[in-house]
Amino acid sequence: MEQDTTLLLGRLLGPTGPEVGCDRCFEELDRYVELELAGVDADAAIPGLRAHLGGCPACREEHESLRELVAGERRAA
């Protein structure tokens, strides 16, 4: 329950730092995922995107899907 309260506060107050918006997130998502999969510091390359994923469940889901799809494809290659 305490954890529920923490999560509720997280959803209400959102990410702490600066973040990009949904539009910019979509524009950069493919590059971000490829940097992640290459082991490069994607957060340094695209500041604010990680924070946005923390605050926007829809973009977070789409990031997880793209990452999983591309990673799976590369494993299979």
């Binding site: 509720l8 107050l13 949904c22 500041p47 924070a51 605050g55 829809a58 789409e62 799809l69």
Partner: protein
């Protein structure tokens, strides 16, 4: 066409928006990998060569859309397999239109296939969220207030958290505009998907997120004015 047509995801915020979204940091076209170059050449060709490239692209998008449907089908347990596949095919069709319309936006910042996948995943995800909420009422504000009141009154809440929650409730009631209050409570408390709410309020996902972002900033400022230290939060 998917209700979140891609260019309509409006610009959002400040802070990290330090460079334009046109991909100015992306590599020049000359640095494209061989496979991406071949995709672009085929899609920009004429006649049968273009038709073949479009057919291959569509097949790729169908695969990505089916992948997304497969990931999220548990959210729609009442749908049969053929209905789910219809959603995937419709998402792929819409994604194909978006990709062809925005072909010149591809700058080679990723592989071409990674770039196109995100269109199919977005279209499929949006359709599935909307389908899951089809016919459902979007919860109204009073239900959200009940959630907040329960959380802040529960014996499990730490004293400090309880005080913060009370201050948050006060901020929502008094520091936000009616629109900010409506959007924040629907998205953050009632769990309405942002695409669904955008549809019901006849706006875009990007515009709604901007409203949510502004509401959150106001709430944080209100908490500080109430004497609460800035909170580190992680939403997941």
């Amino acid at each position: 066409m998917g209700a979140v047509s891609l260019p309509s995801i409006a610009p959002v915020d400040h802070g990290a928006e330090t460079h334009p979204s046109s991909g100015s940091l992306a590599p020049a076209a000359s640095t494209l990998d061989q496979e991406s170059r071949e995709w672009l050449r085929g899609l920009r060709a004429d006649g049968a060569e273009r038709d073949a490239a479009v057919a291959r692209l569509h097949a790729l998008l169908v695969r990505a859309a089916r992948f997304e449907v497969g990931r999220r089908k548990h959210t729609l347990p009442h749908l049969r397999g053929n209905e789910l596949d219809d959603i995937a095919l419709e998402a792929a069709d819409d994604a194909l239109m978006s990709v062809l319309r925005r072909l010149d936006d591809f700058r080679g910042a990723s592989r071409f296939t990674t770039w196109v996948y995100k269109f199919a995943l977005l279209e499929a995800a949006v359709k599935l969220r909307k389908r899951a909420w089809q016919g459902r009422e979007v919860p109204l504000e009073p239900e959200a207030w009940d959630v907040l009141a329960t959380a802040s009154a529960g014996p499990e809440a730490e004293v400090e958290q309880r005080e913060v929650l009370h201050a948050v409730e006060d901020g929502i009631a008094n520091a936000l505009t009616p629109r900010q209050r409506q959007v924040l409570l629907a998205l953050a408390v009632n769990g309405v998907p942002i695409d669904v709410l955008a549809d019901r309020l006849d706006t875009t996902r990007g515009a709604l997120y901007k409203t949510l972002h502004d509401a959150r900033r106001k709430l944080r400022r209100h908490l500080e004015e109430c004497g609460h230290a800035p909170l580190e939060t992680e939403e997941h």
